[in-house]
Point group: C2
Chain length 128, copies 2
């Protein structure tokens, strides 16, 4: 259970990432691409994107699986599967408290992805 993919974000990178987005500064290396693509792939599904959003917006910053399952027209195992994918990607984390299992967002990873796409793109918008 606890044996999870390493967070892929050190807090230093979060601050640093904001200043220079690799995507447009210099070509992404093969290794970085192979490391980052799975994160985008994980949120590249409508159900998982909504799950992420539901968790992020939920009061307290965390949500119980039963809340999440209720928001979809899918079976519990399917929701569980998608949560597992998000967790293995390092985007969310979870903890059992009594009967319920709670999930919350790992905001650092999200911020890193945003920084990768963002600032430079804004610059290009003006340039072109």
């Amino acid at each position: 259970m606890s044996k999870q993919v390493l967070p892929l974000v050190d807090d230093a990178a979060v601050d640093a990432g904001a200043c220079c987005a690799p995507l447009v500064c210099e070509p992404l290396g093969v290794a970085e691409a192979e490391e980052l693509a799975p994160l985008f792939k994980a949120i590249g599904d409508p159900v998982r994107l909504r799950l992420l959003s539901l968790i992020a917006c939920h009061e307290g910053g965390e949500a119980c699986v039963c809340d999440l399952t209720a928001a979809f027209d899918l079976t519990a195992p399917t929701i569980s599967h998608h949560l597992k994918v998000l967790k293995q990607a390092g985007l969310i984390d979870s903890e059992r408290r009594g009967t319920w299992v709670y999930y919350w967002i790992n905001p650092g990873v999200l911020a890193r992805l945003s920084a990768l796409l963002g600032p430079q793109a804004q610059a290009l918008v003006g340039a072109r």
Copy 2:
């Protein structure tokens, strides 16, 4: 050819997006999720992520297919396929000039994705 998926970005949204990222403000609607997820899915592949980066970093902001193909250990049809996926997602656009075909980034779409993930995530980093 020119019949492409609509850009999915109005310039207003680019500016507006910077102030409030939907992902953490309120739950993403089903329709929005189904519209946005394919974009993340498109960049959720190492080859396509590198293609995007190579194009963005290339001098002049555009790159010829032959330049791109040379950077990979894949056949030309495969690269062509990935470029098509990126183009259909609205992330890049292309034009033929003589013998060569050039691709460039649609920065507005990238910026929108960044805004969706970004600012709120930064806020949560501090909060937690």
